[in-house]
């Protein structure tokens, strides 16, 4: 099919339509709103055969979504930021129900202070909910990952809900070249949803039953974990089929100039593009720089991470999120993955940056690599880097001074 210019939001909506979703419970929030507006338009115009219902909160939206999935409908919805936090309770429930719906999260920082631009504290708050997570760097990936997410989530070896993440503004409102797959081919890739024990008159079921003992609870929770681990293999199969049909290959991680790289930056989502640029610049300077992008965040692609980071000198983990009092969220996951690996990197540098969509200059990215080189050269213990420039700090101070009438 011919490529067209689509925002990340439009790409997500288009993928939902291609997936022939039955049901879309919705609730507006910036920067996700364009997704639900788009599908609402299509449903009302009769060009999308789904039922669209606007709920009165994200918590209710997700309750309706999970319940509809249990009743046998293929369900799609979207949220951002505060909406994600507001419905966190339901994410754990829906995963526990084993209801394989797909939720698109358009990342946005989390109040307070309230902000519109992205970081990943919203989606990573759902990290331990049992939802599978796929994170996109481009608008093309958004569309492709939504279709892959349905295929993996609904596989009877998995039966877990999934989140597809894209960055607010940087992807949500940015038009990029997107090649939407043909409907006929999508239908062969993604057959109709086959629910397991749906709510029915002839064969009643109880879902969400209480358990009163830890061992029964553990039984269910370990089952969720095992299913999430099985999703690795299922994703690999699905991605293989996807590549055959549509020509685009997706692994759980993606390497960039990794082959002989000594200094590797680990990144995710749209800012990965900044990392790629920095790697290229470092290469021009003769530095063996490389990049590893996380695409699948849950299940965590520990095998691929271990294989691709083994033998490097210094790894930097770029967290576009903040765990106050600890640092970044991905850092301990990467460090934990590498601990027992033979030939693990000599050092792993934690970097936090891009909070609330904070711009990162090429100079800052170069600074990150300089630090990795310095750690290698001087054999020092990596000290966490929190990206914020002098000029940015002075702009904050100046604005405060003006507000206080001191300037």
């Amino acid at each position: 099919m011919k490529a067209q210019l689509l925002t990340g939001n439009k790409a997500a909506a288009a993928a939902a339509r291609l997936a022939r979703v039955d049901y879309i419970p919705a609730y507006p929030i910036t920067p996700q709103t364009e997704i639900i507006e788009t599908v609402a338009d299509w449903v009302r115009a009769g060009t999308m055969d789904s039922r669209f219902v606007q709920l009165e909160s994200e918590h209710s939206m997700m309750t309706a979504a999970g319940a509809a999935s249990l009743a046998g409908a293929r369900v799609f919805t979207a949220t951002s930021s505060q909406g994600m936090l507001y419905t966190i309770e339901m994410l754990y429930n829906i995963a526990g129900w084993r209801a394989p719906m797909v939720l698109v999260n358009v990342s946005r920082g989390v109040a307070a202070p309230i902000v519109l631009e992205p970081d990943h504290n919203d989606v990573l708050a759902a990290r331990d909910s049992g939802f599978l997570q796929f994170h996109s760097e481009t608008c093309q990936e958004v569309a492709d990952l939504v279709l892959l997410a349905y295929r993996v989530a609904e596989d009877h070896r998995v039966m877990l809900p999934a989140i597809v993440n894209l960055d607010g503004f940087y992807l949500s409102f940015t038009r990029e070249r997107v090649q939407l797959p043909d409907q006929e081919k999508v239908d062969s890739f993604l057959p109709p949803y086959q629910p397991v024990n749906p709510l029915r008159a002839t064969k009643p079921v109880s879902r969400g039953s209480s358990v009163f003992e830890g061992f029964v609870y553990s039984y269910f929770k370990y089952n969720i974990h095992a299913a999430a681990l099985r999703a690795k293999k299922v994703f690999a199969e699905a991605a293989r089929d996807y590549e055959q049909l549509f020509g685009r290959a997706y692994g759980p991680v993606e390497g960039y100039m990794l082959e002989d790289a000594d200094y590797v930056l680990v990144m995710s989502n749209s800012f990965t593009a900044l990392g790629r640029q920095a790697v290229k610049r470092m290469r021009e300077r003769g530095v063996r720089a490389g990049l590893l992008k996380l695409r699948m965040v849950r299940p965590f692609p520990s095998d691929e991470v271990a294989t691709l980071l083994r033998g490097r000198k210094v790894v930097g983990v770029f967290d576009q999120n903040l765990a106050p009092g600890a640092g970044g969220i991905f850092y301990p996951e990467i460090a934990g993955t590498m601990y027992h690996v033979k030939g693990r990197p000599d050092a792993i540098l934690p970097i936090v940056g891009g909070l609330g969509g904070k711009q990162i200059t090429g100079k800052e990215m170069a600074g990150v690599f300089e630090e990795m080189l310095a750690i290698d050269r001087e054999g020092k213990t990596p000290a966490p880097m929190f990206l914020m420039r002098e000029d940015e700090l002075s702009r904050v101070k100046k604005a405060v001074a003006i507000a206080e009438g001191k300037q």
């Binding site: 039955d22 709920l55 509809a68």
Partner: protein, 320 residues
């Protein structure tokens, strides 16, 4: 009331039970009794959508006493769960992927904590959307499953675990019970009714009547609670009967906003007789009767029935 009801006397109570005898709830629970009778009136093919509360422990994996579907959602959002199930069944039937014979009546079942407090927003949403469902609130006037703490359904003068009667706070709860019937009615619910297990025919007829109405069908059932309210489990029906006879629990319905009392006591039994049956009101009588508080409760009941009578054209004799 419908003149063509299949329920004329208690003998018409359907024999078919959809809830097996024996379950995990307290002896004498008025809530589970309401669920049982409600189900009898509905017949088979039901999806119960539950919010956190006493009924949640009805399901204990892998056991279920129900012959119908069950989904526990969360404390605040059972009506949204009902929305999802209703919509999914509708869309699958519309697309020809589900035979009509698999259709279900979708029934939200929650306690007063969910209905009056934490779930009021999601109920309002379901009412705005005119969702075709039933809502059964079993109202024991407190958070029963957590040990009887105050909810906005707790009446004036009730002692609860979070509003205990002490020498500094001699009345227990001093807030008035929220009028959920009027809240739901104001949100344009096409059908709202109150129920009491002690008045089985009235109960069955109201469920039957709801079945003829498309849209939200909202019920608040008095749920005598031996454990929380403090009375002998054998007395549940007696306590519920007294709640009706004293006029404290009016049995009524609203059809498209028009309210009609379905059981009108000819003369009101003094509220004292109801209050004295329960530990939660004990401080109103011991060591000595707090006459002002009891009089206040009595007065509000008498006023309620006087105004209702003026609107509907009946008169109720206040207690001597």
């Amino acid at each position: 009331m419908s003149t063509t009801s299949r329920f004329r006397t208690l003998k018409d109570m359907p024999v078919q039970d959809y809830l097996s005898p024996g379950n995990t709830l307290c002896a004498g629970c008025g809530g589970i009794l309401a669920v049982r009778v409600f189900h009898k009136a509905l017949g088979p093919n039901v999806a119960w959508i539950n919010a956190a509360g006493c009924m949640t422990i009805l399901m204990s994996y892998p056991l279920s006493p129900l012959k119908s579907n069950w989904l526990y959602t969360a404390f605040a959002s059972a009506p949204a769960g009902a929305q999802g199930v209703r919509d999914a069944l509708d869309v699958l039937m519309a697309k020809g992927r589900l035979p009509k014979s698999e259709d279900l009546k979708v029934v939200v079942v929650t306690g007063d904590g969910a209905a009056y407090d934490i779930g009021l927003q999601s109920t309002a949403g379901a009412l705005d959307r005119r969702l075709d469902f039933y809502y059964l609130c079993y109202d024991n006037e407190a958070y029963g499953n957590t040990g009887f703490q105050m909810s906005s359904s707790t009446p004036f003068g009730s002692s609860t675990k979070t509003t205990p009667a002490t020498s500094a706070f001699p009345l227990g709860n001093t807030a008035s019970k929220k009028d959920l019937f009027e809240v739901w009615r104001s949100m344009k619910a096409p059908y709202v009714a109150t129920l009491a297990n002690s008045h089985g025919v009235d109960f069955l007829r109201k469920v039957e009547k709801g079945g003829t109405i498309k849209g939200p069908k909202m019920y608040i059932a008095f749920a005598g609670c031996p454990t929380g309210m403090g009375f002998d489990p054998k007395d549940t029906i007696e306590v519920e009967k007294l709640a009706v006879q004293t006029g404290i629990w009016p049995l009524k319905e609203s059809v498209d906003g028009v309210v009609k009392h379905t059981v009108v006591p000819r003369s009101l039994t003094p509220v004292r007789e109801y209050l004295r049956t329960q530990e939660r009101f004990r401080h109103l009588f011991v060591p000595a009767e707090k006459t002002e508080a009891v009089a206040k409760i009595q007065e509000s009941v008498v006023n309620y029935w006087r105004m209702a009578g003026e609107r509907e054209g009946f008169s109720v004799k206040p207690p001597a």
